[in-house]
């Protein structure tokens, strides 16, 4: 019988059969640590790598919106003009990333598998706080790389099925997790975006008005931060906008977001600094 040999070739290693954690990243840490972004040992020194920039998020009655511009920069060069930095994390949450693009995308993929893995093993979804805490752990594990300049700073938003409201969580590179109220922005253009949101956001805006406010905020970020890309009307490259409600995550379709972007840009042609007061809804 050759079964022992074939077992080594194709059977499931003992680690797979060990009962225990429902966490995919914990499983990788014990079985294949080289696959985790945080456990790599880097040689000293700095590398130039593309950076993703501004992400904004805002709640509205019944959900939450997350939007990101499409630019990645490497020093003064635009590394990519149509990068996507906002992703669905699972059915009821999404994650946007600022920082080193390559690592950030890897962390997002790991986070997506982490949530799906838990759901399949346990037969239930994590609570929104549970998801936010898992993301904090993944970011914390990345701290050694952050200290070498490869930081990843996410923004997490989701629909809380218990409180029936949209919620936003921000993070720092040490894995600190902070719940934000109403709206938040991360990335190099975030201070301009946040300033814009402060003036334009209202807690009782409708879903479509909140999307428009987020697009305005990204426009203002791109206006003053060279690393944030404004809407590219010539190439029809518009911000990625995700809406999370009780029905799940929905990406605002290209033609719909195109319409909103064109309205915003048209208004800016008349008044380049944007609307003056609260938007009338």
């Amino acid at each position: 019988m050759e079964i022992s040999r074939t077992h080594a070739a194709g059977g499931l290693p003992a680690a797979f059969m060990t009962p225990g954690s429902a966490s995919f990243s914990d499983f990788l840490a014990s079985h294949a640590p080289q696959m985790l972004p945080g456990s790599r040992v880097l040689p000293p020194g700095q590398v130039d790598a593309p950076h993703g920039t501004t992400i904004v998020s805002a709640t509205f009655p019944g959900g939450v919106i997350m939007a990101g511009d499409r630019r990645a920069t490497m020093g003064n060069v635009i590394a990519q003009r149509d990068i996507e930095k906002v992703f669905p994390a699972d059915e009821f949450s999404c994650v946007g990333i600022a920082g080193t693009a390559g690592l950030a995308v890897e962390v997002v993929r790991l986070f997506q598998v982490e949530l799906e893995h838990y759901e399949k093993i346990e037969g239930a979804q994590l609570s929104l706080d549970g998801k936010a805490n898992r993301l904090a752990t993944l970011i914390r594990n990345n701290l050694p790389m952050a200290m070498q300049g490869l930081a990843v700073v996410p923004l997490f938003a989701g629909f809380d099925l218990e409180t029936h409201a949209g919620r936003i969580f921000s993070y720092d590179v040490t894995g600190g997790r902070y719940e934000e109220h109403a709206f938040h922005a991360v990335g190099s253009g975030s201070m301009f975006a946040r300033g814009s949101l402060k003036k334009l956001y209202g807690p009782d805006l409708t879903e479509s008005d909140t999307v428009a406010v987020c697009v305005e905020a990204l426009y203002d970020a791109a206006d003053d931060d060279s690393a944030t890309g404004g809407p590219d009307l010539a190439r029809k490259i518009y911000p990625v906008v995700l809406v999370v409600t009780a029905d799940g995550v929905r990406r605002v379709p290209e033609d719909e977001i195109g319409g909103i972007v064109n309205q915003v840009v048209d208004a800016r042609l008349a008044r380049p600094d944007g609307p003056t007061g609260l938007r009338s809804s």
Partner: protein, 236 residues
């Protein structure tokens, strides 16, 4: 000093197989049926928490009968394997065939090397873009794999159920009739006395080709299952 009795390898294998078969025969049955829009999994299972049918990956699901802790162990291992493969390569690179092979090797090793074989029988199934691309593999306690088409019955009364299905199954069933057929044969042949199973005694899930999301696995329970079964003409 007493000499241990000589037991022939044939006898050891036979004893183990009999032991495993007996364990599996004690449990309630599971039927897996192909329908036009995908694959339906119907289990007689009064528990809402201890599943016999589960999602493995986007297009792959798992159904098992036998000893819960043993097939649960294999299910978790399958989810880990699928997620790890999908994470390191791509979601499209996770296949049912790879999973069935890994399970077969594992069950084969356990059967020959352990004193106690696993008392489980499982189906891993994957839906393709059309019904002829669907795959169903039945795995038994000794690691043997069978490539199945149309339907699979496992568990206590699997022979009687399979006979009944052979007579009544046709290839062009829609979801409703397919689930109704499975429920009907489970009720009639799944126990010594024929019964009528209602939705609270059933665990039903489908791999649904028509879903627009990547994860095609969906459970049908409660109201949805009751109304699906109520819409079907009474087959008797």
């Amino acid at each position: 000093m007493s000499m241990p009795f000589y037991v022939s390898p044939e006898q050891i294998i036979k004893d183990k197989a009999d032991y495993a078969r007996k364990g599996i025969a004690r449990g309630r049955s599971v039927v897996v049926v192909q329908y036009t829009g995908g694959i339906a999994f119907v289990a007689e299972n009064p528990s809402r928490a201890l599943h016999k049918v589960s999602e493995i990956y986007d297009r792959i699901a798992f159904a098992a009968v036998g000893k819960y802790n043993e097939f649960e162990n294999l299910r978790v291992a399958g989810v880990r394997l699928a997620d790890m493969r999908g994470y390191s390569y791509d979601r499209r690179d996770v296949t049912c065939r790879g999973l069935a092979n890994a399970y077969a090797q594992t069950l084969g090793t356990i059967f020959t090397e352990n004193n106690k074989p696993y008392e489980v029988e499982m189906v891993v199934a994957e839906i393709g873009d059309s019904a002829d691309a669907d795959q169903m593999y039945r795995l038994t306690f000794d690691g043997s794999v069978a490539d199945e088409h149309g339907f699979v019955a496992m568990g206590g009364q699997s022979d009687q159920i399979a006979t009944a299905l052979t007579a009544r199954y046709t290839e062009d069933l829609e979801l409703g009739p397919a689930v109704a057929l499975a429920v009907s044969v489970l009720g009639k042949h799944g126990a010594p006395e024929p019964r009528t199973l209602d939705s609270s005694q059933l665990e039903v899930a489908v791999l649904d080709r028509t879903r627009t999301v990547a994860r095609k696995f969906r459970r049908l329970s409660g109201e949805r299952l009751t109304s699906l079964l109520a819409d079907q003409p009474d087959e008797s």
